[in-house]
């Protein structure tokens, strides 16, 4: 955990993302124009968020198998970092769509309701709400072992229910989001191969940054734990 080669990798990948992401040629799409470069920033937030939530659930399962409080701390911290990245994804998504497909000059998007109806937003809003509820649940239980156990159970249950919702909801509601058939950026019909060269490293870089922040928080959590014992 304290070896740092991946931190260097994260920095290198992010530097590469920022430079190559801004300088390399991108395919020209009518509505998106240069904003397609947001793929390296906005979309990566979602990917990193989902990866961090997944790690959180894996640690929840580990906790239930071993009842080692350490895994509970890890699980919780990954969830909070995931929430932060999710909120950033939300904010950046709002900016991006305001100037592209959900143009405020278009009367169809005057109200916030019309924007919030977007299925991909619903999917991620559900994910964020689940993890907010997870934090609320945690705070409501005083006993440490009980809190760890119950919140791990909820974490696993909610995560297992989240995946169907991410798959189902976009297929039920109409959307203007690019990549309508299936999950955006998962199928690369709409993403040029030249973008993939930057996109994959960008996802890894952002995720590693999230992991880095989380490990710092885990270390704080473990120190706090040790002090109270």
């Amino acid at each position: 955990m304290y070896r740092s080669w991946w931190k260097i990798l994260s920095v290198v990948l992010l530097v590469y993302t920022f430079t190559a992401g801004l300088l390399l040629k991108v395919p020209h799409l009518p509505a998106l124009e240069e904003t397609i470069r947001n793929l390296y920033f906005h979309v990566c937030m979602w990917f990193a968020m989902m990866i961090l939530f997944t790690v959180s659930v894996i640690n929840g399962i580990k906790y239930l198998r071993t009842f080692n409080i350490r895994y509970d701390i890890i699980s919780r911290q990954y969830a909070t970092t995931g929430i932060v990245l999710g909120l950033l994804g939300y904010a950046t998504g709002a900016i991006w769509m305001s100037y592209t497909w959900a143009d405020p000059n278009n009367p169809a998007f005057q109200s916030f309701g019309a924007l919030a109806r977007e299925p991909k937003l619903i999917g991620t809003a559900v994910a964020l709400l689940i993890y907010f509820a997870y934090l609320v649940l945690r705070d409501s239980i005083a006993d440490m072992d009980k809190r760890a156990r119950i919140s791990a159970v909820y974490n696993i249950f909610a995560y297992a229910m989240l995946f169907p919702s991410i798959w189902i909801v976009p297929r039920l509601l109409p959307s203007l989001h690019p990549g309508q058939e299936g999950n955006p950026a998962m199928n690369f019909k709409d993403v040029d191969s030249s973008m993939r060269v930057v996109f994959y490293p960008a996802v890894i870089g952002w995720t590693l940054l999230g992991v880095w922040i989380t490990t710092i928080k885990i270390r704080i959590g473990l120190l706090k734990e040790k002090k109270w014992q």
Partner: protein
């Protein structure tokens, strides 16, 4: 958590409302809206990058304060 969430929502609503306000006057009135649309809308990318940077920095400052408090105890 609560405080940072509040900050993010403020940021989000602020950005949204700026976009909306800028757009109220229609295409010609310009201002921020026109800037954002110029040069192939590259400024949208700039705004997105700045938001992520700002978010992460705010988060780090919060973390920093938390550790300081922990050290004092």
């Amino acid at each position: 958590m609560k405080k940072s969430a509040k900050i993010f929502f403020l940021l989000l609503t602020g950005i949204l409302s700026i976009g909306r306000l800028a757009a109220q006057g229609g295409e010609t009135s310009g201002g921020l809206d026109q800037t954002m649309r110029s040069s192939g809308r590259i400024y949208v990318v700039v705004a997105v990058m700045l938001t992520i940077l700002a978010g992460l920095i705010i988060y780090l400052i919060r973390l920093d304060r938390k550790i300081t408090r922990l050290e004092k105890e």
